[in-house]
Symmetry: C2
């Protein structure tokens, strides 16, 4: 019987230790920039994407060392998008993971540049992996997922949608691009870095895309129903801002149904993988019952 | 006798054609984002970095196809730094290359995201090159040059220096990091993409670093002495903002002497390269006599 909670704690410690060791020391010139980068990366994330990358390598029966680096690079990239999302010209949020956002602590210009530098560093970590981990392919996959037709495309459509007429098609575009493609990238990068086969990489991609969409629907549900204490950030902010969310478009019961159905789709994609897939299976259940 | 002006025009047309063909069409969803990216990339830059990358491959007697892609990627990266530099929380500039800056035309959030997406795309273009061009190495070299201990480090120190006591050491740090490392990267990436030898790559690195510092000193001189018409952006803005510049710290005559000495250093580094190095030689002279 697989126990998710201790597994998550163990993997989170492992990812945090890697991030702490691999980030440039905060005394590196310019110290202010490296402090801002470290502040946001080590602000206590769940490390969901790196944990997925590790679990993907494991499910393919492959070594996890390169997947850990790839997962950590994904966490840098994810953190940069959060820093930029929180800026006054974007969502203008003061609180993230229960702590003041990067620009509140370091000022807008330094937060902007810390985000920029974390994106750059994500690609450096991938590119510096040994040839067996297919570094150029990892960079290309992450760049496609994170770029103008991936995460950033989703962010732009999200801003365009604020206060506009709700549309289920646009909503799906936003959630797939803003969130799901990076979760898809997490499992694909873990598998590629570990040296998995092409069919295995495709299987994990299907898992990741379904899981990522479920993850974002669950986020919408939490934003509408949680407390600031449980969530570590304001709740009800989506509605106040006129954001396009699954709760706003489909209502709470239908959103919950869709999230559950996507989780089952994700789990079905794990069939016949050569390594242990219990962690990926349990992680899929977890994304729709988590409290933050 | 090598004629620089027609050479520059020819290479600029070649780079512009590549950029136009390789950028995602402006109709790609989200169209607003792709319009903002294209607007800034095609706003009429000199294409100095891509031209250097091409000239570096040529000077090593190597084919130029991969160097063109690498040079174009450098131009994307350079453009992203300009877009972010111009934002209200940074230099707050309304005019760039004689045109309204990206955030003036598309709004702050879209300019921020267009910059982010251009950085991502630069790494995608490098990573997608064939194995013979050493794509992972190109990504790593660009990421080191562009990251927290390269360009972004220089930008942070530049902001810290505004209105502070002038220091020749800090000034050198800023100019080397904010500008010279990316020009060094331009020639190194061109050489690496073309398949040059390690000694050739190192030679070009020495050329690029000296040239890059001369380039930024020349920028300081232009900002202090040019006209807005010739420069395409406001002049005297460095002084008004209390920026640390070579003109402010060393005065105009000493700045001119240093720039000339660096150009000679750069040219000396070109000795014994197997291909035609006349373009690189002439480009070095050009950086300190250009009008914009």
């Amino acid at each position: 019987m697989f126990e998710l909670a201790p597994y998550l704690r163990k993997q989170q410690v492992r990812v945090d230790a890697f991030l702490k060791a691999a980030l440039p020391p905060v005394t590196t010139r310019p110290a202010l920039l490296h402090k801002a980068m470290t502040y946001s990366v080590l602000a206590g994330g769940k490390r969901f994407r790196p944990i997925l990358a590790l679990a993907a390598a494991q499910a393919c029966g492959r070594p996890e060392a390169a997947a850990l680096t790839a997962g950590a690079a994904l966490e840098l990239l994810h953190t940069y998008t959060l820093i930029h999302d929180d800026l006054p010209c974007m969502d203008d949020d003061d609180l993230r993971r229960g702590k003041p956002t990067c620009h509140i602590v370091f000022g807008e210009a330094n937060a902007l540049l810390a985000g920029d530098a974390l994106q750059t560093l994500a690609f450096l970590w991938l590119a510096a992996l040994p040839a067996a981990a297919s570094p150029a392919r990892l960079v290309a996959e992450l760049a496609r997922a994170a770029g103008s037709q991936g995460v950033i495309g989703g962010q732009v459509e999200d801003l365009l949608a604020e206060g506009s007429r709700p549309s289920a098609a646009r909503l799906r575009y936003i959630h797939v691009h803003k969130t799901a493609v990076l979760i898809e990238a997490a499992v694909r990068l873990g598998a590629i870095a570990g040296g998995a086969s092409e069919p295995q990489i495709r299987q994990l991609g299907r898992y990741g895309l379904a899981l990522g969409l479920a993850f974002q629907i669950a986020d919408d549900i939490l934003n509408a129903t949680s407390t600031p204490e449980a969530l570590g950030k304001p709740v009800g902010s989506d509605q106040a801002r006129g954001k396009l969310t699954y709760v706003a478009v489909h209502g709470l019961p239908a959103s919950r149904r869709m999230a559950r159905s996507l989780v089952r789709q994700a789990q079905a994609a794990l069939k016949d993988l050569p390594g242990p897939s219990a962690p990926l299976h349990a992680l899929a259940d977890y994304v729709i019952c988590r409290k933050n």
